[in-house]
Point group: C2
Chain length 143, copies 2
């Protein structure tokens, strides 16, 4: 098992992580893979797709993690914070890729399917990413 | 643990997998994540980057997996086959993400570092992806 902890040197809290550009870049790749895998399982055939910045940003609001992003951040920057948080939780070994996939899948299952139009797909995506962020939030914050 | 086997229904062999467009799309996300994670470990800070199609295609040749792609395939199409093979091995649970990361890391370690220019980086990347493909090859073919 590779040791991922050294990657996080100097990144000591979720608050710092959420504003780290390198973590956002790594998290971008992680979330796209997790999301693609979950969607593949959900629709029962292999597919690959990137998560939309608007979906990530809206999910940060719904999971009430928005305060972790910079206060005047635009959608793209809030999305970066979402990605950074996801990378941070993964690198800290708080959860595995397969647990992340399960949460995204659970989010898909809460919305109507089949997706008849872009709006329905967008809602399903937001539900999926919100579910994942709520899970990550529960790992760091007690209610 | 999510069950990924149903995604592969109708995709019965590595040869078929290598030509599957959906697997190539999913594999694209998997390899970008694995590569970004391995590079983050190697350079000791979080980063995210996509693997170049030329690197994937050249790695298919070096690992002698080129015959799995279509015979008149261009670099992009050979890269798709590399991605599809990676997704297939992962979905078949032949290896974990962390094992993939280890192989890519091993490939980086075989080349000079720090990377002084694009050419050195390209060589390191090709070494990294070749190492991964040779590993996957060893899972399916006995020598």
């Amino acid at each position: 098992m590779s040791d991922y902890s050294k990657i996080l040197e100097g990144i000591d809290s979720l608050e710092i992580a959420a504003k780290d550009k390198g973590l956002a870049k790594l998290g971008d790749e992680i979330i796209n893979m997790v999301y693609s895998l979950a969607e593949s399982v959900f629709i029962n055939k292999p597919t690959g797709e990137k998560v939309n910045a608007t979906v990530l940003s809206e999910s940060m609001r719904r999971s009430e993690l928005r305060p972790l992003a910079k206060s005047r951040a635009n959608a793209h920057s809030i999305a970066d914070s979402a990605e950074a948080i996801i990378a941070y939780a993964f690198l800290q070994k708080k959860a595995s890729i397969s647990e992340f996939v399960e949460k995204v899948l659970k989010g898909f299952q809460k919305e109507p399917f089949p997706w008849m139009d872009t709006q329905m797909k967008r809602e399903a995506d937001t539900s999926a990413i919100t579910e994942l962020l709520l899970f990550i939030k529960s790992l760091y914050f007690t209610k």
